[in-house]
């Protein structure tokens, strides 16, 4: 190809590549944009679309908490503080407070791994904005409430069955290091 040939080919390339490029960009006008318009213009709240293993702000289901203090001990930054007292007459132990400081929490997930009943777990909630750090301390026992005591070999109380099942399912899915969905996802 001589000089004239390459000159003509340059012009031809410029025209055809612009033509093709413009057809591609025009076809994008008919596509749905990828953007998710958080927080308002979305069909379902973003929390509902997050996977079960998402590590959001910690939540505690006090009804199935045995008060074993495993989470408090395992927490590397002691963001969990639990106070337990005993009623001297009925020998019933109860929570005086169960506070989690979300400010300190680093979302490592150790507490939910050691929990025997799956009562402490990561929720799908992540919107933790607050005007002061004290507003981020979650009080899960605002008033004194009794500890959960699983009956040995016996039946679970009917009103707690669903809560226990949720906790065990969570343990299976999230807290078991190689069990549940985690192994399948990685494989």
């Amino acid at each position: 190809m001589g000089i004239v040939g390459s000159y003509v080919k340059d012009i031809q390339d410029a025209i055809t590549s612009t033509f093709e490029g413009m057809s591609i960009t025009f076809s994008h006008l008919m596509r749905r944009p990828m953007t998710i318009q958080y927080p308002d213009k979305i069909p379902v709240p973003i929390q509902e679309t997050l996977p079960l293993r998402y590590r959001g702000i910690l939540e505690v289901d006090l009804d199935i908490c045995t008060g074993c203090l495993a989470c408090e001990r395992v927490c590397p930054i002691t963001c969990i503080t639990i106070g337990i007292d005993m009623n001297k007459e009925s020998k019933q132990r109860y929570f005086t407070h169960f506070d989690i400081d979300v400010c300190k929490c680093m979302y490592c997930g150790l507490c939910s791994e050691v929990c025997p009943t799956g009562s402490i777990r990561h929720s799908q909630e992540f919107e933790g904005a607050s005007y002061n750090p004290a507003g981020l301390v979650r009080h899960f026992a605002p008033e004194a409430s009794n500890l959960y005591k699983p009956k040995k070999g016996g039946e679970t109380e009917p009103k707690l069955i669903t809560k226990v099942d949720i906790g065990l399912k969570y343990l299976d899915e999230f807290a078991t290091p190689d069990g549940g969905g985690a192994a399948e996802e990685e494989a």
């Binding site: 960009t25 025009f26 076809s27 994008h28 008919m30 944009p33 953007t35 318009q37």
Partner: protein
């Protein structure tokens, strides 16, 4: 406009006032009205529309929160910029630095004097209309170079120098492409050029012969380069020069540069429409109704010129920025010789008799329609090949 004023003076509407004072006041009033009623909203809405179109072409959403679908975004941006502090750097030239945005702005606004929005809707039908536009839009170079120099900043200076080299170079293919039309129309007046065309595409100068068809694309490319638009926006190439000549500007003065850029986009479209696309020409159907005809002419002209604004946005979303050497090579090695060929070819066609000229015009029109059909087939192919989630609505 002037005829109306003369009539009012003769009727004694301004008794006792010197004629010159009446003219001066009318001129200032016209400028204010044109600027505030037409040009400012036009440039603003263009800036919003560009961001929306550009966003959709990149699978984004774009500004859609201020007002319905974000159409008032330009107002929010403008108010924010006007209320910002006006910073003049200590090392900058204290006189030229504040002056530069106004020169750029003036260069673009003066072009609106001769843009024919309708048969009688024109500020002044100068007999050198198109030459006037080429002249006043060159004033932008002075402003940009002034901004680059006065900022006392290496990026600004480089941007200003690049812009000057670019605009001066691309004046030549733009001028030669315009010259083909001037030869065909036999006049430099904007209204005269439009009156030499008809309302149908077969009467437009773009389909007059194959050479004017090429000249149109050369003109449009050169006009994009003169307007510092992507892919020719090397004066403000953010990856190399921060923001080029606007690096040191902030607030209102910054706004003026971009006001001029988006307004200039419309001027490009309007000039392309006037020269090649038949301007405000409407079918003879409207002849009996003067008001309706005026509206139809304005709408026709506006839609045609805004289509080219859309094409400029579209090109901006498509093509990457060229290098400086590529830019100069494109101008001097390709566009200048090609525009000369177009000019010579058009001169050749002027010697041809009307019938055979019509045949070539019809072939050009047929080629354009075939290209357009092929284009939309390619669009359909690209769309199907990507298997995307379709979303046809313009709003989101």
């Amino acid at each position: 406009m002037q005829a109306l004023l003369d009539q009012m003076i003769q009727d004694g509407a301004f008794a006792g006032v010197p004629k010159e004072v009446v003219y001066a006041i009318a001129m200032v009033l016209t400028a204010v009205v044109v600027l505030s009623v037409f040009v400012a909203p036009l440039a603003g809405v263009t800036s919003w529309l560009e961001r929306r179109v550009w966003a959709r072409m990149q699978s984004r959403v774009g500004p859609n929160r201020v007002g319905p679908q974000g159409i008032l975004q330009w107002l929010a941006d403008g108010i924010k910029n006007i209320m910002k502090e006006d910073i003049i750097p200590a090392a900058a030239d204290q006189k030229l630095f504040p002056l530069a945005p106004y020169i750029v702005f003036m260069g673009f606004l003066c072009a609106f004097v001769v843009i024919p929005f309708g048969e009688s809707l024109i500020v002044a039908d100068l007999n050198i209309g198109i030459l006037y536009i080429l002249a006043v839009t060159s004033l932008v170079v002075v402003g940009i170079l002034m901004a680059g120099w006065a900022s006392n900043n290496k990026w600004s200076l480089l941007g200003g120098m690049r812009s000057a080299a670019q605009i001066v170079s691309y004046e030549i293919p733009a001028g030669l492409s315009v010259l083909t039309i001037v030869f065909l129309a036999g006049t430099l007046s904007m209204q005269g050029i439009i009156k030499a065309q008809g309302w149908g595409p077969w009467d437009w100068f773009i389909f007059h012969n194959p050479f004017t068809f090429c000249a149109f694309f050369l003109f449009f490319t050169a006009a994009l380069a003169e307007g510092n638009r992507t892919p020719f926006d090397i004066p403000e190439a953010e990856s190399e020069l921060v923001a080029g000549y606007v690096t040191e500007y902030s607030g209102m003065r910054f706004l003026f540069f971009f006001f001029a850029e988006w307004g200039n986009l419309y001027v490009i479209g309007a000039v392309a429409t006037t020269l090649f696309m038949g301007g405000w020409q409407v079918p003879g159907f409207f002849d009996g109704y003067p008001v309706l005809k005026g509206i139809a002419q304005f709408v026709t002209f506006f839609l045609k010129s805004y289509f080219w604004v859309f094409v400029a946005m579209w090109i901006r979303a498509t093509l990457p920025r060229v290098r400086v050497d590529q830019l100069m090579g494109l101008c001097w090695k390709y566009m200048v010789p090609l525009s000369f060929i177009c000019l010579m070819g058009t001169i050749g066609f002027m010697f041809m008799d009307e019938i055979s000229r019509r045949v070539f015009g019809a072939i050009t029109l047929g080629f354009a329609i075939a290209t357009l059909i092929n284009f939309f087939r390619r669009v359909g192919f690209q769309f199907r090949a990507a298997k995307p989630e379709a979303y046809w609505k313009p709003h989101i």
